[in-house]
């Protein structure tokens, strides 16, 4: 059992607060992604878990054991670095065996575990080579093999794929995901790539400026961003945000009233609210419709499977996905309508999401 419990952890570098009062629990065998733009403190948080960085305040426990003041080697972790950090003066075999030799395991056990780890990463043929003779992708595999060979209960990964080229990254992404379901270790994985986060993690912790803004499943983070920033950071194109007027319990977007669920109605703060809607949840019509907002087409980008239309309504820029066969011309006047249950509501001042009744959402989905 290796659950990671992070409680009220702070870490500052001089005057810069890298991690700000973070509390986070990673379940045993869970695959958690720390996601955020560069400088958000995700790597620092990971290094605090590994023990390479000492926390200023707060506690960290792994598998029920308080490790806050323990050095990395006593924490029961293994780590994969962004730079791979493969030891250049050792062969691939010696690299993978390094952690096992430090544990003073018997020779045949080391031999067996190295071969197993190498087999898992498909680098059995490279065991006698030196890192300088390997490609970037192969070094990456050695780094992962070295980390999994020690069979620690917690595996920490710091942007392991960011130095690979696009094609290789895609391949390794799928491979790592398969590997982690097989290994049944607890994984904390740092990335700034939202696609990686969406496709790999059990849960995603979205970070900004040292704080965790949202910690939830990828679907939830995508569908119900807790905050305007998350809606804009995750998803391509980013979520559309429109300022709407709140008048006598009604919400009006660009002169068109839209439907408001009862729970949202309770929390609406007049005079304004922020409406969030994803490009794929907007219907576009070429003729006027009841309850649709008139907009002007600016750009049409054909993406093969669909078209991405950029439209303007007064000052607001709105991105809409349309079927690939719908022909639109720039400056054309069209009408858009938001799918009512896909509208997300945010406080106009703070940018925080208004409360959502997830139970009702789930019930509606099943129903």
């Amino acid at each position: 059992m290796a659950e990671i419990r992070i409680q009220n952890v702070w870490k500052t570098f001089g005057k810069v607060v890298a991690v700000k009062d973070v509390t986070l629990t990673v379940e045993d065998r869970e695959f958690v992604i720390l996601l955020g733009p560069s400088g958000c403190g995700k790597t620092t948080l990971l290094r605090c878990i590994s023990g390479l960085e000492q926390v200023d305040r707060g506690t960290i426990s792994i598998g029920g054991r308080d490790v806050t003041n323990l050095p990395p080697r006593r924490r029961g972790i293994a780590m994969v670095f962004q730079s791979y950090a493969v030891f250049p003066h050792m062969t691939v075999f010696d690299n993978i065996a390094f952690g096992l030799r430090m544990k003073k395991l018997p020779k045949d056990e080391i031999e067996r575990r190295v071969r197993d780890a190498a087999a898992l990463m498909h680098i059995e043929d490279l065991l006698d080579r030196y890192p300088a003779q390997l490609s970037g992708g192969q070094r990456q595999r050695v780094a992962v093999a070295r980390a999994i060979a020690v069979q620690s209960e917690v595996l920490l990964m710091d942007e392991p794929l960011s130095n690979l080229d696009a094609l290789l990254r895609l391949e390794m992404r799928a491979e790592l995901k398969r590997l982690f379901t097989e290994l049944e270790t607890t994984v904390v994985y740092v990335t700034h790539d939202q696609v990686e986060a969406m496709s790999m993690g059990d849960r995603i912790a979205v970070m900004r400026e040292g704080e965790i803004l949202q910690f939830d499943t990828p679907v939830r983070v995508y569908d119900y961003p807790a905050d305007r920033f998350i809606g804009g950071f995750i998803g391509n194109p980013p979520m559309n945000f429109l300022v709407a007027d709140v008048e006598d319990g009604r919400v009006v977007v660009h002169g068109t009233p839209i439907e408001v669920p009862p729970l949202v109605l309770e929390h609406l703060k007049p005079p304004r609210t922020l409406v969030g809607i994803r490009a794929e949840n907007i219907e576009l019509f070429t003729e006027q419709q009841e309850g649709a907002i008139p907009v002007q087409v600016l750009v049409v980008e054909p993406l093969g499977s669909h078209n991405l239309v950029t439209a303007r309504a007064d000052g607001d820029i709105i991105k809409v996905n349309t079927p690939a066969d719908l022909r639109l011309a720039p400056d054309q006047r069209v009408w858009i309508r938001f799918v009512p249950e896909k509208i997300r509501w945010f406080d106009a001042q703070t940018g925080k999401a208004l409360p959502v009744d997830y139970q009702a959402v789930e019930a509606a989905r099943v129903g």
Binding site: M79, S83, A85, F98, R146, V150
Partner: protein
């Protein structure tokens, strides 16, 4: 065919001239050092070795006081090497690895110790060593040479350590090493060639140093100090052979240390 622009040609001409400026005297000394006595006294001297013989070199080595001073020079150089590596390598490691308050000031301070002309320091130093009872001993010369060598030892080792990414040590630490263990197993093997170069550099610096050695010793002279003190009354073969003998370690050293000298100022971590 590559087209050579005039600026490139000039660059090469200058480089060749500069190289000749250094190489020609070395070459002439070497030719003389391995010629027999009568050839050395000939005028004009031959530009190419006509007869090769060890006679001149043997004459130098057998001269009185030479072997003793060679032995002392080696002792001084080894002491200098040991002390300056023991003090300088950890300092270089700290400079390469840690960001600490006053780090840049420290760097400048290290170099600025070389700004003091040793001529000014020499008299007070001689007096201090006399008071301490260390005058005219290999220890006093070694201490002085250590002081002279330390700035370079620190800067060179810091650039050597900076060439090993921190990630490697950190990876070792996550794999079961202590900080010291990570240094021992990862950084040390990777920096050994560079550290060896720094050590050789220190050795050569001490081996070649003449001023401090001449001032701090009277009877127990190191080789350069000895050669300097007897130079005026010694015959030509002695001068050529001595010159060549003193040159050799420096030449060997250059082959080793070349690539480390290029990034003397080191890359800085984060």
């Amino acid at each position: 065919m590559r087209r050579w622009s005039w600026s490139r040609v000039w660059l090469h001409v200058l480089a060749v001239l500069l190289a000749l400026w250094v190489i020609v005297p070395i070459y002439l000394i070497a030719v003389a050092a391995f010629s027999p006595r009568d050839v050395i006294y000939k005028y004009p001297k031959p530009l190419f070795p006509t007869q090769v013989s060890l006679e001149t070199m043997l004459f130098f080595i057998r001269s009185s006081g030479v072997l003793d001073s060679v032995r002392r020079s080696i002792v001084v150089a080894l002491l200098t090497l040991a002390v300056s590596m023991a003090v300088g390598a950890p300092a270089g490691y700290a400079l390469a690895r840690y960001v600490f308050p006053g780090r840049d000031t420290f760097r400048i301070a290290i170099v600025s110790t070389r700004a003091f002309p040793i001529v000014i320091l020499s008299i007070p130093l001689a007096v201090s060593f006399i008071n301490l009872g260390l005058y005219d001993s290999v220890i006093s010369v070694a201490l002085m040479h250590t002081a002279l060598a330390l700035p370079f030892t620190i800067l060179v080792t810091s650039s050597v350590f900076a060439s090993v990414p921190v990630d490697l040590e950190e990876a070792a630490m996550t794999l079961g090493c202590s900080r010291l263990g990570a240094f021992w197993r990862i950084s040390l093997p990777l920096t050994l060639p560079g550290l060896a170069a720094a050590a050789i550099f220190t050795f050569v610096l001490s081996w070649n140093e003449v001023f401090a050695a001449a001032i701090l010793t009277l009877r127990n002279r190191t080789l350069p100090a000895h050669v300097l003190s007897v130079l005026n009354e010694s015959p030509l073969p002695f001068r050529f052979a001595g010159g060549f003998f003193l040159l050799v370690p420096a030449l060997i050293f250059m082959l080793f240390i070349r690539r480390y000298l290029f990034n003397l100022w080191g890359r800085v971590v984060r």
